[in-house]
């Protein structure tokens, strides 16, 4: 239809409506995202904070906020905290999700009650992280239900003080992240496995491949792009880790700031209106996430164009 001259004319006369419908997104994005982003960059080059009622700056100081961050502050330490806690949650999350997604899609096993299990494991993803963290704080407090159960089973004599020990405090945060995200990852991986050509499994079965061989030689290599996608999106999410450790540790990163994340540090500066250091840390996080986002963009676009081509003709 669009090949005829009349059709062409029509599509030209309507095309201005494209801009009209596109405008709200770009106006809002420009005002509330782009301008703030550049204003954040700009602020990172100024000394601008308050001590009590006294305002210091704004005074242009070049890169000294960045130098401050890398040398004098604990930012590298908080970055490592964030990374460790992300890994502690992500590694088990990926392993469990891989296992579950293979089981759920196996035509050999034909597990029952799949909808029930999927519903249950996805559920924590929708929970308010603030409330979830508060719930965990209550459950794992010195006189909370978990300590009650541990004592009555004779595992410990005195309450185990989870938030005073580095390993268990980080472990709790990782556990919460694991619980909130493994269902989501399982569902993504399942979609990936179901996209694999059934005839490959058929051929492997005829050749007498064991289920382990099928997993390592067929599923894993073909799933690789999705695994990369899952890992990078999860890392971007991990860098944003805030609600859970903030509320679990009262914003202090207990014990001794070993659970303090990058965004918790940023949040402190936003509250105290320290725009220089806050800006520098924001810019740093932006640079890291921008690189990661670009990888996700490449994967998504490649996938989008190949699937729309498939759908066309």
């Amino acid at each position: 239809m669009r090949n005829t001259i009349a059709g062409k004319k029509k599509s030209i006369s309507y095309s201005k409506w494209g801009y009209f419908f596109l405008a709200p997104f770009f106006i809002i994005y420009f005002i509330f995202n782009l301008i703030p982003l550049f204003s954040t960059f700009y602020n990172s080059f100024f000394e601008n904070y308050r001590i009590g009622l006294m305002q210091v700056g704004p005074k242009f100081v070049g890169f000294s906020n960045y130098i401050e961050i890398f040398t004098n502050s604990n930012v590298p330490r908080y970055a490592v905290n964030t990374l460790i806690m992300w890994l502690m949650g992500f590694v088990p999350q990926l392993l469990v999700s891989l296992l579950l997604s293979v089981w759920f899609t196996s035509s050999h096993l034909r597990l029952k009650g799949q909808n029930f299990f999927k519903t249950v494991i996805y559920m924590p993803n929708l929970i308010m992280a603030a409330a979830f963290a508060m719930l965990f704080f209550t459950l794992f407090s010195d006189s909370g239900p978990v300590n009650d159960i541990l004592i009555s089973m004779g595992v410990v004599d005195t309450p185990y003080r989870f938030l005073t020990i580095k390993g268990s405090a980080r472990g709790l945060i990782a556990l919460m992240n694991f619980l909130m995200w493994y269902g989501n990852t399982t569902i993504l991986l399942m979609a990936g496995i179901m996209g694999i050509d059934e005839s490959l499994f058929e051929a492997a079965r005829i050749d007498g491949a064991s289920s382990l061989q099928v997993f390592f030689r067929i599923i894993l290599p073909l799933l690789l792009p999705i695994l990369v996608y899952v890992m990078i999106t999860s890392l971007i999410g991990g860098i944003q880790m805030f609600d859970v450790p903030q509320i679990l540790t009262k914003g202090d990163g207990l014990p001794d700031r070993t659970t303090m994340t990058l965004i918790m540090y940023l949040n402190k500066h936003l509250f105290s209106r320290n725009y220089g250091l806050g800006g520098a840390v924001s810019t740093l996080i932006f640079l890291i996430t921008a690189v990661l986002s670009f990888i996700v963009y490449r994967i998504t676009m490649k996938n989008y164009f190949s699937s729309s081509k498939k759908g066309d003709k």
Binding site: F21, Y29, I31, F32, N33, M128, A131, I149, T289, S293
Partner: protein
Amino acid sequence: MANEKLSLNIHRAVCYIVLVLLTLISLFPFIVLVINSTRLHSEILKGFSLLPGTAFLRNCRNLFTDDNIPMLKGLANSVYISALTAFLTVYFSAMTAYSVHMYRFKGRNVAFRFIMLVMMVPPQVSALGFLRLVIKMHLMDSFMPLILPCVAAPVVFFFMLQYMEASLPFEIVEAARVDGSHEIRTFNTIILPIMKPALAVQAIFSFVTSWNNYFMPALIINSKDKKTIPIIIAQLRSAEYMKFDLGKVYMMIFVAIIPLMIVYLILSRHIIKGVTLGSVKG
């Protein structure tokens, strides 16, 4: 043959055991939450029990009549912000997707690639500039800066675009044009109804995201009667926790979590289907 069957059954049994264990771990916090929300402070202090108590309504009354915790107001604020956010997000994301899907204008491809490129950039990186902007616009301590930015939601846009490509034929729009329907009218009365399933799923996701949001609201809202549920919950942690009535604490978390969970359980089929649509598939 019998051997093979036996090993399959063992394999299956292992799967079910692991699944049941994971289910228990996933449900454990919620089970304790529901049970303890029915018990009095004194009962909770005595230790954990699997038997629910009888004080559910009493805890509920205690919570909502506590003048120090603006729970009712918080609920109203959260519902108001989340509902408006959900509406604006789905309406304008559908509109943006419609523009990219339906019209062939100059710069269309650039616009599309731009939206896809910024999709994963976390909002926290521009939070500082955003906060300064909000201060300059005199919008601190108001709902506006929490609601308005959601008009630009790249992830929802991408979901809508994929949905349109799968189920919105050009012919319908052509037919509407022949009938003399105005473009805006076509979008509102013909396109949106076709998009209903996608709108519903994304409205739920946007509602939940906004409902759970803590970072930005905590920086923008100050006054007591404008606080949202996550802020109220977070305050619980920063106050002297030990002084609190634990029955009330559990009830607060209950109110923040359980109503949404019930909605989720009713609609879970559609929601789980929606999870995969907006992202990379095989």
